[in-house]
Amino acid sequence: MLRTLLSDDLPRSRWLAAALLAIVIGLALAPFLFPGAKSLNVAAKICVFVVLAASFDLLLGYSGIVSFAHTMFFGIGAYGVAIALTRLGSGWDAVAMGTVAGLASAIALAAVIGLFSLRLRTIFFAMITLAVASAFAILASQLSDVTGGEDGLNFRLPAILRASMSFADTPLFGVRLNGRLLDYYLVYIVSLVLVLVLLRIVNSPFGSVLKAMRENPFRAEAIGYRAVVYRTAASCIAAAFAALAGALMALWSSQTNPDTVLSFDIMIDILLMVVIGGMGTVYGAAIGAVLLVISQNYLQDLLLVANKAFAGVPLLPDLFHPDRWLLWLGIAFILCVYFFPTGIVGRLRSD
């Protein structure tokens, strides 16, 4: 059963299995284990970013394609839902239409970019995706009538997902059973299903062809596989998953703007998640997403504790000042790459 669910791609490491189990259970019980708006927000963000990073790994890790347009597809998915909910009202029909429109646009755009550019060498393809993504981000901030410009869009979710919707008068283990909680579980379950589908894709014969092409495209062509077709298909699938992650993000945050769904910082984040976790492993993307999102949200709190603990000692309080969190994140990243060149999952599997 578990073997089928994981598409025969078992963790192959006791520590990795334990970490993945902790993530799945931890996220499932997050509203009860870590009550509070911030922790729930972090948990939902982890769910979304696991999907986003895993879909990026389909490109980078499994296919050897370097794309800087992944955030663009994330943004397309998010704006699809946001525009539909803004214009068509806050019903599920608007959510469905927005999701389908975002999905179709992302797949179509990925197909066009792929068919025209994937014949090029890796670096030129990367440059083209960078140019297209930058142009799209500018377009999104300029077309303020549709996208809300720099301010973005704030919209109402379907009534059942709103915090004002209460399902029970009494809290369960201190947690209010309301629309916000349902929204979280919607994000959690859809993310889990999407990751399992991605696992199925990378472990299918299609996934084997992608890995073969990553290693030697000429050799794969000599067996009869058209590199450009398979790579474009991989791009379209990755774009579709990124768009779905974007739709989930919009459904969770009920607001969408260029900073939260289109910025280049997000692109860097997902690149870090994949590299830290381990390229070419869906599990690596999950581990990387958990580590990075938690670091981004709690490293400052941790540094504040250290800052207070070292009060009175020369230099150290400055070094551990909460504002220095990016410096520490950078150091942690360098150490990670140095000690785990194949990523955390690669290291755990090699032990």
Partner: protein, 241 residues
């Protein structure tokens, strides 16, 4: 001799500034095994790569089973039923032995009977079925590269130096495998430096020198003509051992 399944006429290939093949012409008869011989740098590997479309012929014509394949793309050529085993253990190191073979089987999952036939000759592949191919030894990788090309029936096999670096016992198994393929419906064009291997297996021979075919004919006659071998290949008597 039967009608050719593959014929090359006036094939020219240039790689960058270098003119490698100068009007290559020879036939591979259907159901036969033709050995492509020649000194290092004679253009043998370039000829195989040109047939597969990996280098584009700048002039001339390549016909396979009556069809002009000169301008076809590599995947199109492969899908016509031509398998290519490049030199130097051309496997996919990140994929398991099983994935390598499944990937090469384009007409559906490999047949059990066919796999058993392969395992009988290359038993290491069954033993390391779920191991990443990168972990195999050099000889085992070469076995896998050949097995990938024969995992399902093909009309023509192009094989580049299959015995390079292999132990004698494995070479014997490979000779047996090629002989059985030849007796089936598969035609073979094999580049080989090991003349003892070539003469045991080949029906026909084409000898290349400096980007041209210098001699074509029957292998038995060529093997008996020491002077011609000496002239074209620079072989001494020890090569016949």
């Amino acid at each position: 001799m039967s009608a050719p399944i593959l014929s090359l006429r006036g094939v020219e290939t240039r790689i960058g500034r270098y003119h490698i093949l100068h009007g290559v012409e020879f036939d591979v008869p259907e159901g036969g095994l033709t050995m492509l011989l020649g000194r290092n740098g004679a253009g043998k590997t370039t000829t195989l790569r040109t047939i597969m479309g990996l280098w584009r012929a700048s002039a001339g014509e390549i016909r396979f089973a009556g069809r002009d394949i000169t301008r076809m793309s590599t995947p199109e050529i492969a899908m016509l039923g031509i398998a290519y085993v490049p030199e130097s253990m051309a496997i996919f190191a990140d994929l398991t032995v099983r994935e390598n073979l499944v990937l090469a089987a384009r007409q559906g999952p490999p047949e059990r009977k066919r796999l058993e036939w392969i395992f009988a000759r290359f038993s290491a592949l069954e033993r390391f079925w779920h191991l990443p191919a990168g972990h195999l030894s050099g000889g085992q990788k070469q076995m896998l590269a050949v097995a990938r090309a024969i995992v399902e029936p093909r009309r023509l096999l192009l094989v580049d130096e299959p015995t390079k670096g292999l132990a004698p016992a494995i070479v014997a198994n490979m000779i047996e495998a090629f002989r059985e393929l030849k007796d089936g419906a598969t035609s073979l064009l094999v580049v080989e430096q090991n003349f003892a291997f070539a003469r045991r297996l080949g029906n026909g021979v084409a000898v290349m020198d400096d980007g041209r075919v210098a001699h074509t004919g029957d292998m038995a006659q060529f093997a008996a003509d020491d002077a011609l071998q000496q002239h074209l290949l620079g072989l001494g008597m020890d090569a016949h051992q």
